[in-house]
Every structure is written in C-alpha cells, then in structure tokens.
C-alpha cells in the first residue's frame, strides 16, 4: 500500500496525530468509524508500532478492524476494567453477535443490555453482582435502581474507551467491533482456560481472584469502593509494571 508516511516525523506532523495519540494513551479503541484516525493508523502502522514500543506499549491491530494501545511495561499507565464494566461489556458483545441487532443497524439500548444480563445471569444474580457490598437486605426497588444506574455508567465508560457509541436523545447505543475483545477468551478453538492463559501472558487481560474482591467488598462502606485486582505479570520479562502500577497507582477504572 502506498502511504504518504515515509518517516515517523511525517506521522507526527499529521494534523490528526495529537488527538489520536492522546486517545490511544487513554485507552481508546479506534475502528473504521473513526475514519481519519483509522486511516492514519493503518497507513502508518509500522512506524507507530516502533514508536509506541519505545514507551513499553504494543499498538494492537485486530483482524476485526480496530486498534488499541496495550501497555506491557511501566512507562505508560495501565488499567483494567472493573467487574461491572466487564459484565456490561460481555452483554454488549452478545448483542453485537445477535442477528436481532442487525435489523436495527447495530444499535441497542440500555434496556437491551439489562434484558440480556437478566436472561444470562438471572435477576437475583444480577442484583447481587451490582450490589456486592450490601449485606443487609435492601429494598428491591432500590437495588434494581442501582443496577440500572451502574449499567448506564458502565455503558458510558465503555463508550469513552471506544467499545460503543452513545448517541442521540433516546440513548441508543451503537455497537462497535472492539466489543469482540470481550469474547477473545472464547473465540478460538482451544479451551477457554488455555486461551485465557495466553491472553494473560500477553497482558491483554488480568485474572481477577474472587478472594480479592470479597476482601475489598467486606471492608467497604457500601458505596462501591474499587476492589484491588490481582493482575498477573506479562510474559515480557519486565517482572513489574502491571501489578505495581495497578495496585499503587490506578487500581481499576471504575468503582463498583
């Protein structure tokens, strides 16, 4: 492919680069919907991969048609999604795979996400998942409202990361290809545990141990303090970074 970028300088001088660079560093996933950014990344992929590797990051390009930046060292801050975001993300990925969503041109609503979660998890488990610190029996209506609120927050957070777009007054959610990241552990032919181990080794995902969550839950005051996640170190030999960074600096993205 003929590109206009011969040297890294050409890329950096592109008018779109500063915004794109900032977005990638903040965890944004870029697909064809972001046409100018996607074109820039596609045309300057080799140069930018080298560029970001110097910051201890991998510029990942998935076959599904999206890019994102994955820190593998300690130079760039690394975060992981909260438990609630993960639930919302997986429900959105299920909607993305559902032919029913095709009829609406890849659009869903927050109600669809909640319905999907209710179908898969059941109402009680869903309420427990989003009200983990409530030991006392609380009013069902309040608990349901909390679930709706937190799912809405999760959707907005995932939108900021480029997994979906939230557009329009009706709050329609446009599903984007990056949602398939939530299905990565089960996409291959290998067993999910094996695939997950590979992803952990690559630093794509971090395992979350329930004990850690429980410990974090039990000392909380019920307002959703962020659990400190146990994150496996990447296999790049750095031996640091993710654990320390995640624990000391930015535990997780979201409070759940």
């Amino acid at each position: 492919m003929k590109t206009g970028y011969v040297e890294l300088q050409d890329v950096v001088l592109d008018a779109s680069f500063p915004e794109l660079d900032l977005a990638l560093r903040r965890g944004r996933h870029v697909d064809r919907e972001d046409l100018a950014w996607y074109t820039l990344l596609t045309e300057a992929q080799d140069l930018l991969e080298t560029f970001y590797r110097r910051y201890g990051c991998e510029l990942v390009h998935k076959a599904d048609g999206y890019f994102y930046l994955l820190p593998t060292g300690e130079k760039l801050s690394r975060r992981q999604l909260g438990a609630g975001d993960m639930l919302v993300g997986q429900a959105l990925a299920l909607l993305y795979l559902d032919p029913a969503t095709i009829e609406r041109g890849g659009r869903a609503t927050t109600e669809d996400v909640i319905a999907q979660l209710v179908v898969v998890l059941g109402s009680d488990a869903l309420i427990r998942a989003f009200n983990p610190k409530r030991r006392r029996k609380v009013d069902e209506r309040v608990a349901q409202k909390t679930v709706r609120t937190k799912i809405g927050e999760g959707v907005r957070h995932l939108a900021a990361l480029g997994f979906v777009d939230v557009a329009g007054e009706d709050g329609a959610i446009k599903l984007r290809p990056a949602l398939l990241r939530f299905a990565e552990p089960v996409r291959g032919l290998s067993a999910p545990a094996e695939a997950l181990a590979k992803l952990v080794a690559l630093g794509e995902v971090a395992l979350v141990e329930p004990e850690v969550e429980k410990a974090a839950d039990s000392d909380g005051d019920g307002d959703g303090d962020a659990p400190v996640a146990d994150v496996a170190a990447p296999a790049d030999g750095s031996g640091h970074g993710v654990d320390e960074d995640v624990e000391d600096d930015e535990p997780v993205d979201n409070d759940w």
Binding site: L81, I102, L180, A183, V186, A193, L196, V205, V208
Partner: protein, 433 residues
C-alpha cells in the same frame, strides 16, 4: 397552509374521530375493493355484502376464543366508522346499495399497495412531470388573462403536477417499508440458517444498494431539469404578478427538494447499514460458522471459568500547573492570659442640673428679666423637639435661683415658633441666695 397546527387539530378533535378495525374488518374491506374492481361494481347490494363478508371471514383465522362475527354487525360497524356508505337514498323503500368511502379505499390501498419506487417507475414519473411542466410553462408564457393563468397554470400545478410528485413520495415511502422488510428478512435468514444464509444476505444487500444508487442518480439528474422548469414558471408568474401561480410553483420546488433530500438521506443510511452488516457477515458469521461463539460467550458471562478483566492503556489527562500564591501563616489561636473582666472605676460625671443652673445664671446675668427671655436664651441652641422638655426644667431652675413674680393673669409669650410659656417676671439674682 394558513391555519396553524392547533386549529387543525382542534377542528379534527371536535369531530371525535376514531377507528377500530380488526383483521376481519380490514379483510372485509379489501375483499369488497377487490370484488368491485374485478366485476366493475360501483355499489354492493346487501346480499353481495353478506356474501363477501362470508368469504373474507372464512379466510381469516378466528381470534382467540372468539366466535366468528356475523355480517350484520360487521356492516354496521363499518358504516358507523364511515367506511361504508349507503348510496341509493331509498331508505326503507327497498334494500340498500353500499359503496366504500374514500377513507376505506385509502385503508385498502395502504394494504394492497405495492407502489415501491423502482428505476422504471421513477423514470416514467419524472418523464411525465417534465412533459407536464413544459406544457404548463408554455401556457404561462402564452397566458394573457387571469383566467388563462388559472386554467393553464395554477390548475395543472395544483392537481396534475402535485399528484405526480405525490406519486413519487408515495413510492418512496413504499421503498422505505421495503427496506425495513429487507432488514427484518436478513435477520430472519441468519436466525434460520446462520452460515447458509450468507449468500442470500449478501445478495439482498447488493441489490438494495444498487437500487438506491440508481434511484439517487435519477433523482439528482431529473430534479435539476424539473426545478429549472418550475423556476421558469415562477419567473413568468412574478413577471405577470400572479401570486397564486408563484406560490404553487414554489411549493412544488420544495416538494422536489424534499424528494432529492430523501434520496440522499436513504442512500447515506443504507450505506451505513450495508457496511455494518457486511462487517458482521465477514467478522462474525464467516469466522464462526457453527455459531458456537454466542453460546461460549454466554457461558463465560454466566460465570463459568476464571474471572478476568480487560487491560488497556490509561494515561491520565495532562495536568496544567498553575501559579499558586503562597498561603500566609495564620496566627495561632490563643487565649489572653489576663482576666477580661475589669474592676469598675469611679469617674466624675457632669451634673446636668449644674449645667442648666450655669446657663440660667448666665441668662439672668445677661439681663433677662422674664421667664420667656431666659427660656429663649437657654433653649436657643437646642433642637426643636427638646425645647418643650427643657422649658419645664428652666422654669424650675429660675424659680430656685431667683425671685419670681407673676400676675394673676399670666400672659402666654412665644419662645419659639412652636413653643409658648406662661410668663413670670424675674428679679435680679441678688435677691435670692
């Protein structure tokens, strides 16, 4: 339209319109329309109505638990809703004849309508429009009398041309419905035969895209010619001061603009949809021919296996430092060691009576020989409101310091503008110790 929306809605609302039609009713109407077309009937006898109803209700599955309704109430219901009208005007003289109303025909046409915009139908419509508009333009150029304008220009613009443009708009709505059906069809195909439906889905997408593209091209090309003709008609109308013709032409130009905008909007929307579905077919269906991914993802979400969280870059926002003024040290809060209570001290105060005595002595020493004179001298410096009170004290002091005498009838003497005193004569100070 000169009337505003509120007026229109209120006028319709006053008539309390309502429609309540079930599947049997709608099928009855459709059957009547089809029968009338086939047999060139302009009206139905009661017997014909009952026959058609029997035929229509036999074709419709009965609703849950309900018995099939009979013809008489069905006919009555349609008449009550002004869908069926008696047209013979004979009353009880003989059995009636009935015809479908305009409303009923509109409902039937909605369901029967297969008017979808195609390249052929659009081409025919735009060609007819061009011809009709050219005729109207020629009539406008030749028109000399207002009557010529009404018959040759305004009439055709308001009826013929408007109908033709409405035909395009109606077919556009038909195409919209067809596209919705396509989208539902793609969903049904995928749900029924996941991987096997790939080719058919792609075929549907490609054909619809091609249709929309062609339509948009025709609309863009022909609309230029149509707008140009309408513009010429409008110019002629302006030249001859024919406001009605001008506004009719202007309204039609707006309608054509809307049609063109429809084409662009639909093509843009379809293009977005096309890309999404194409990507879906490529990334989801082709890569997961057995559709196992959905089930595995559902299991993962349900909590089987280890829990995990996606990692991503999370650089914080840039921090812009600002100049901060150093905070001043606040003095510590202390309690005074000495007692805040102070012992009272005796201070010599001024005796007001002594002061008054001195003033009165001064006045008497100055030669005042009447109470009024002393009062005038002493209260002269006081505000008006205090003089009355002070006058009493002065009288008391004068009586204490000097010998005073008074006539039986003491005269009232003005001391100031608002104060009078009963006057005394006052002797010199030597007379009293």
């Amino acid at each position: 339209m000169s009337r505003n929306l509120d007026q229109i809605v209120a006028a319709i609302g006053d008539r309390k319109p309502s429609l309540e039609l079930g599947p049997v009713d709608i099928c009855f109407l459709i059957a009547l329309h089809v029968r009338a077309e086939a047999a060139n009937l302009t009206a139905f006898t009661e017997q014909q109505l009952e026959d058609v109803f029997a035929q229509a209700s036999a074709a419709v599955p009965p609703e849950d638990g309900s018995v099939r309704r009979r013809a008489t109430p069905a006919i009555q219901r349609l008449r009550g809703q002004r869908l069926l009208a008696r047209v013979d005007g004979q009353g009880v003289v003989r059995t009636g004849e009935f015809a479908l109303s305009r409303l009923a025909i509109a409902i039937v046409e909605f369901y029967l309508e297969e008017d979808v915009l195609t390249r052929a139908s659009l081409g025919v419509l735009t060609a007819s429009l061009r011809t009709a508009l050219a005729d109207v333009l020629a009539a406008a150029v030749a028109a000399e009398q207002p009557a010529h304008w009404r018959e040759g220009v305004v009439g055709p613009l308001q009826v013929t041309i408007t109908e033709l443009i409405a035909g395009i708009a109606r077919r556009q709505r038909g195409l919209d419905l067809q596209q919705e059906d396509f989208q539902a069809e793609i969903r049904r195909l995928l749900e029924a035969d996941w991987f096997g439906a790939l080719d058919r889905c792609q075929g549907l997408l490609e054909s619809t895209s091609a249709t929309l593209h062609e339509l948009n091209e025709v609309l863009l090309r022909d609309s230029t010619a149509l707008l140009s003709l309408l513009h010429d008609i409008e110019e002629q109308a302006v030249m001859h001061g024919e406001a009605e013709a001008e506004s009719a032409a202007h309204r039609l130009m707006d309608q054509i603009d809307r049609s063109v905008a429809w084409g662009s909007a639909r093509q843009r929307a379809w293009s977005e949809y096309f890309q999404y579905v194409h990507r879906y077919l490529r990334d989801v269906v082709r890569l997961d021919p057995t559709r196992a991914l959905t089930q595995r993802l559902r299991d993962q979400l349900a909590g089987t296996g280890a829990r995990f969280a996606l990692a991503h870059a999370g650089a914080p926002s840039l921090r812009i430092l600002r100049t901060v003024a150093p905070a001043r040290d606040k003095p510590p809060v202390v309690r005074p060691r000495v007692s805040r209570d102070q012992e009272p001290a005796t201070e010599a105060g001024e005796d007001p009576q002594a002061l008054l005595d001195a003033k009165v002595r001064a006045a008497l020493g100055g030669g005042a020989r009447a109470l009024s004179s002393v009062t005038t001298a002493v209260t002269g410096e006081l505000p008006e409101g205090e003089r009355f009170v002070e006058a009493g004290r002065i009288a008391h002091t004068v009586a204490q310091l000097a010998r005073v005498t008074a006539a039986i009838e003491r005269p009232w003497v003005a001391v100031s503008a608002e104060l009078e005193v009963e006057d005394w004569r006052v002797a010199a100070l030597e007379g009293k110790s």
